[in-house]
């Protein structure tokens, strides 16, 4: 932003005007295109992009009940704000709800939940909160006490995804929307390459996932930077602390890298997603088959879904169960405790949304 302004000062002419309306003074450089635009045009352009994504992909039908995964962080706050705004403006005819998950992380989640409660009032959207304690009998704090700071993100991610689905079923909604943006998807593509998860690599760039399952989920291709800039300018009420356990997540590597990459070439984030979409994956590659969990009925490619496996491990005092490569057959992956690789290579069934509903 400084460079742009300096340039116009050097040119010695009148201050540049917004690229789009040519009337107002630009206040920021649009992260995606580096255009100089004014505040109002930025709102318009941002909201319009989301509207187009919804319309072009046929995400919703009128009359549907839609839950918004809300954590209180910038992304979900922006999502809740924009979606309720667009619902009103373009008459989508949607019944919107806020759905929040309480993982039981003191000093983090309890604070962010306050934000969501305020959002309920500010946006007039009914709120449903589900907690790990109620669903699983364990809070994240309990889990971390048991298993330490490594692999705890696996538990959280797996549990939260299922909790969202359960919450959505409880609210009897037709769709669940999350505030994942382009950065998240790019990180996921990279993570799947790094961890050898070819099955997920082939699915992770779809705008809709779980179509055959109970509740499809959607994301949007806005850049994190755009989304956060929107939140900043609109002075939306959000909670901006990172999860206290997040420094140990493997996703952190990918995120750092992407941040550096973005500085060199902003469009690289979208290029990663493009690559992910263009990957040609051999049809002969073994892909997991979709079934249901014997224990809870949730969607699963194994006999037991990952959440049940992890939960069982916790309850039996064998927290390493379900972490690392599965050995032998068996419902629970056997009573193995082998960690075959150094570091945090973990094979999880659920997608890589660890700690990433907010930033």
């Amino acid at each position: 932003m400084e460079r742009g302004e300096a340039k116009s000062k050097k040119a010695g002419g009148p201050p540049r005007l917004c690229c789009i309306c040519n009337e107002r003074r630009p206040v920021l450089k649009r992260p995606k295109t580096l255009q100089q635009i004014c505040r109002e045009c930025f709102y318009e352009v941002f909201e319009e992009e989301i509207h187009q994504a919804i319309v072009n992909n046929g995400l919703f039908k009128s009359g549907e009940r839609v839950a918004i995964g809300a954590s209180g962080g910038k992304d979900s706050t922006v999502l809740a704000y924009v979606l309720s705004e667009l619902n009103r403006r373009y008459s989508y005819g949607l019944d919107l709800f806020l759905l929040s998950i309480d993982e039981g992380i003191t000093g983090y989640r309890d604070d962010s939940l306050e934000t969501v409660k305020r959002n309920e009032l500010q946006y007039g959207l009914p709120l449903q909160i589900l907690s790990y304690k109620d669903l699983y009998g364990w809070t994240m704090d309990d889990i971390v006490k048991m298993i330490g700071l490594k692999n705890n993100c696996t538990f959280c991610g797996v549990f939260r995804r299922q909790a969202l689905d359960r919450g959505a079923a409880l609210l009897k909604v037709d769709k669940l929307v999350t505030g994942h943006n382009a950065d998240d998807i790019a990180e996921t593509v990279l993570l799947n390459i790094l961890r050898g998860d070819i099955a997920r690599l082939s699915r992770c760039t779809s705008i809709t996932t779980g179509e055959d399952g109970p509740i499809p989920r959607k994301y949007c291709e806005t850049l994190t930077l755009s989304s956060h800039t929107y939140a900043y300018f609109k002075k939306l009420d959000y909670f901006s602390t990172e999860c206290i356990y997040s420094p140990n997540a493997y996703r952190g590597f990918a995120r750092e890298f992407i941040k550096d990459l973005e500085r060199l070439r902003p469009r690289a984030i979208l290029d990663i997603i493009k690559s992910g979409e263009d990957f040609r994956i051999a049809t002969t590659t073994k892909m997991p088959e979709q079934g249901t969990c014997e224990r809870c009925g949730y969607i699963s490619s194994q006999k037991w879904c990952k959440a049940c496996v992890l939960l069982d491990g916790l309850n039996r005092g064998l927290p390493k169960m379900g972490i690392g490569r599965a050995r032998g057959g068996g419902v629970n992956g056997g009573d193995h405790k082998k960690e075959t690789k150094a570091g945090s290579t973990v094979k999880t069934l659920e997608s890589k949304q660890c700690g990433s509903l907010d930033f």
Partner: protein, 448 residues
Amino acid sequence: MACNSSGCESGGCYGREKENGCKVVDVKETVRLCVKCKSNEPMTFGDGGSDDGRFCAECFRSNVYGKFRLAVTSHAMITPSDNVLVAFSGGSSSRVALQFVHELQVKALKNYEASRDRSLPVFGVGVAFVDESAAYPSLSGGMSDAIELVRSTVLSLSPPEKDLHVVTIESVFGSESVEARDRLVKLLDSVSDETGKEDLLLHLKMLSLQKVASENGYNRLVVGSCTSRLASHVLTATVKGRGYSLSADIQHVDARWKVPIVLPLRDCVWQEITRLCHLDGLKTVELARHPQSGINDLVSSFVALLQEENPSRECTIVRTAAKLTPFYFNKIPETDDSCVPMATQRRLKKFNLKYDGSMTTEAFCPICNGPLNGSDSSEDESDALYAACCSSCRFQILPQEPSSLDHFGSLLPHHMISQVKHHQKFDSQTYLREKIKDCLLLDDEEAV
């Protein structure tokens, strides 16, 4: 990081045993034998890498050479009637490739001399070195020493003798004159993106190697890319939006070029290569790299970071990328050439039968030679060059102003631009005709 005691096994906390104070039986201290042959003392390289102190020198060397030889034989990379050009940069990877190819050739020569009927000829080997000092002026200082080292290395690798071809990068323009040098500088200057410039140079380097190979009668180009290099390539390609063409670049064989490229060290990691150079005293040349600030460098540091965290990460990355569908040109093409021994022809046929690479026909980007994704092409582009290029080259190499495209095109080497004129599309008709020509009764001229 907390290491849960109930889950801590030996090997499970690599490198962190000491920090966490876990009781782990340190295998190294009690047993001092090579884990493979169990007779010799294991080598310690002390480079902090994995597998240090596990293998003796012989077993280590035979492991690495074994991977090389397996790659060569199972992909029919080098066969008796071939004339092979080894691209030698002076670095460790290509040095090892050269060394192994030489050893293979020596063995073939021994068999040839020992055999009674001398039916299998010994494949020929040449070496090529590309002088990039026109592009990176900072290299010119050490260049003559580097070339001297290269020369003496090649001389030492005989018998059998090997020709050395030292070419400058500007030779892609047809000559090594001052004009060619200037043209190269102009071309590079007209690329504003740092990474684009580096990549364009890589493409030009490949072109110059292809030129050397085809002008001197070589039919294979050996490139020493190892797993680590390919892991970086997987990530750079992903990050540049080249997900479609990625699988073409990382296979053992890349036959979309006039002289097919083979990667016999594809399954060896950088650590093995540097250790081998150290072990065998293979001299390498490290030309002072002009500081690179682009994406390629960022990715290399990222991969290095990941490797620290988990030494098998590079292998995982390449293994994942290997699950992407390769292209039809990622195998040595079958040939009816009568010079090729029957055994080779049979092996090629057998390999190609098992091969399930995609049988699509492809158009190629004139600059990077990457297969083009049908959905990317924009037929209605006014500029032929722009229309012909892939989206990645369009962004990072081609000038952004349409008015500069013509001038840029005039600076490109003839080989690249000629592809645009012919509207390069793989001629499926010709390809099919080659396959069925034995059944055809008409001559070429009478063909429809």
